[in-house]
C-alpha cells in the first residue's frame, strides 16, 4: 500500500523485531561455537560455520512454519506474523551461508564445477544410508532462494497473489527436502538422541499445529445454513462484536461480515496484499484493517481509501429482526453496497 516501492518497509515495531532477530541469530552462533569448541576443540572453523548456520536455519524454519497456525489459533501471535517476511529472508541467509560454506569446503577445491560436483561426487542414488543428501539441501536452498528473492510487495502485486502464494507454499516441499537432507546426512554421523529428538519434536509440533488449525477452519467452513428466498442465514446479530466481523463461508469463499456504527457490511475475507484474513481484523478509522499488515478497505465498497487502489468483492446483507442474512451472489471488486442498518 504505497505510491512507490521501498527497499524495506520498516516502522518502529519492525525495526525492533529485526534487531531481536539479528541479535538472537548472533547469540545462537556464538553459543553454538562456544559449546562446540568446549566439547570438541578439534572442530575446524569451516565445519563449525556449516553446522552452526545449518542448525540455525532449521530452527528458524520451524519457527516460521509455526507462526502461521499459531496466529490463527491465538491473536497474541499476530505481531510475530507481521515480521515473518524478514524472518524468512534471515533464515535464507543462514541457509545460504551453510550451503555456500559446504560447497566451498567439499566441492569448490577440485577441477569440477562445484554445482556439478554436488550432484555427481556421490552417485549412490539407490542407497538410503549413503544417499547424496547434499543434492536435497541444494534443491531446498533453490526453493528458499525463490521465496526470499520474491519477498517484496512488487512481486506480490505483479506475479498476482495466487501465483505468489503458490510459490511461497513451496516452503513445505523445501521443509520435506531439508528433513530428508538432515536425516540422510548429518544424522548418519550424529547419533545423539538429544539432537535427533529435538528434530523429531520440531516436526511433530509443526505438523500438529497445522492439523489443529485445519480442523478448526474446516469446522467454520462446514457450518450448516438455511436458505430463505435466495438469502443465506448467517447468525444472530448479537454474535458479531462491535467493530469486528464474523467469518462466513459462501460458495467456498470466506466472507467477513462487519458490524460498525450501527451498520453491517460484508466483504471478501482475503486481503489483496498477502492474503491476510480481513475478518480477523477490526474497523479502525472507519476502515476494515487487515490484521497482518494493516492494509485498509472501506467496508461499504471493499476499496482501499484513495490514493490506494486495492479492491475486494462485496456482498449484500439484510437483517430480519435479529437474524443476519447474506445474498450469496458476490459483486464485482470495489462495488458500493448500501450498508445494512441495524
Amino acid at each position: 500500500m504505497g505510491l512507490d516501492y521501498q527497499l524495506v518497509l520498516w516502522n518502529k515495531h519492525k525495526k525492533t523485531y529485526d534487531k531481536i532477530i539479528v541479535l538472537s541469530m548472533l547469540l545462537y552462533i556464538v553459543l553454538f561455537a562456544v559449546i562446540t569448541i568446549a566439547f570438541n576443540s578439534e572442530t575446524s572453523i569451516e565445519t563449525l560455520v556449516i553446522r552452526a548456520f545449518g542448525s540455525l536455519a532449521i530452527i528458524m524454519l520451524h519457527i516460521i512454519l509455526a507462526i502461521g497456525p499459531l496466529s490463527r489459533l491465538n491473536s497474541n501471535f499476530l505481531p510475530i506474523l507481521y515480521n515473518r517476511r524478514h524472518l524468512g529472508v534471515s533464515m535464507f541467509i543462514a541457509a545460504l551461508i551453510h550451503g555456500g560454506f559446504s560447497m566451498f569446503q567439499f566441492h569448490a577445491l577440485g577441477d569440477v564445477n562445484p554445482v556439478y560436483s554436488v550432484f555427481t561426487s556421490n552417485m549412490d542414488y539407490g542407497s538410503l544410508t549413503n544417499f547424496p543428501f547434499q543434492v536435497l539441501g541444494f534443491l531446498a536452498l533453490l526453493i528458499l532462494f525463490i521465496m526470499a528473492s520474491t519477498s517484496h510487495d512488487f512481486f506480490l502485486a505483479n506475479l498476482s497473489a495466487k501465483v505468489w502464494k503458490r510459490l511461497h507454499m513451496m516452503v513445505y516441499f523445501a521443509y520435506a527436502l531439508i528433513i530428508a537432507h538432515v536425516f540422510l546426512g548429518a544424522f548418519q554421523q550424529e547419533t545423539s538422541p538429544f539432537t535427533i529428538g529435538i528434530m523429531i519434536i520440531g516436526f511433530l509440533v509443526v505438523a500438529s499445529l497445522h492439523l489443529i488449525t485445519a480442523f478448526k477452519e474446516r469446522k467454520t467452513d462446514r457450518v450448516k445454513t438455511e436458505e430463505k428466498e435466495g438469502w443465506l442465514t448467517v447468525c444472530n446479530i448479537s454474535e458479531i462484536q462491535e467493530d469486528r466481523a464474523k467469518i462466513f463461508t459462501v460458495d467456498n469463499e470466506r466472507v467477513a461480515i462487519f458490524k460498525y456504527d450501527g451498520k453491517l457490511s460484508a466483504i471478501h475475507n482475503v486481503c489483496k496484499h498477502q492474503g491476510g484474513p480481513l475478518g480477523e481484523g477490526k474497523i479502525i478509522d472507519g476502515c476494515v484493517t487487515c490484521p497482518w499488515h494493516g492494509y485498509q478497505y472501506l467496508p461499504s465498497n471493499g476499496q482501499s481509501p484513495p490514493p490506494f487502489t486495492e479492491k475486494v468483492t462485496t456482498y449484500e446483507l439484510k437483517l430480519d429482526e435479529e437474524t443476519v442474512y447474506i445474498n450469496p451472489k458476490a459483486f464485482e471488486e470495489g462495488t458500493e453496497v448500501k450498508p445494512c442498518k441495524i
Binding site: T120, S149, T150, F154, N158, L167
Partner: protein, 70 residues
C-alpha cells in the same frame, strides 16, 4: 543418472542465464511498463528486485507481453 543430472543442470543454467539477461532489462526499463508504482522507485530498490526477477522471469515476461508496451 549422469544423463538426467546433465539435463537438469543444463536447463537450470539456461533458465538462470535468460533470467539474468531479462532481469537486467526488466529492472531498468520493463518493470515501469507493467507497474506504475515503479516510476518513482529508486535504483537500489530496482536492483534489490533483480534476484526475484531472475527466479520468476517467465511470469513477468508474460505480463510484459500482455501489457503490449515493450
Amino acid at each position: 543418472m549422469t544423463y538426467i543430472i546433465n539435463i537438469f543442470l543444463g536447463v537450470l543454467g539456461i533458465y538462470f542465464s535468460i533470467g539474468l539477461l531479462f532481469g537486467l532489462y526488466f529492472v531498468i526499463i520493463g518493470a515501469t511498463k507493467i507497474d506504475p508504482l515503479m516510476q518513482g522507485t529508486k535504483k537500489k530498490v530496482r536492483f534489490l528486485l533483480l534476484p526475484g526477477v531472475i527466479a520468476t522471469w517467465p511470469f513477468l515476461i508474460v505480463k510484459l507481453f500482455k501489457s503490449k508496451s515493450i
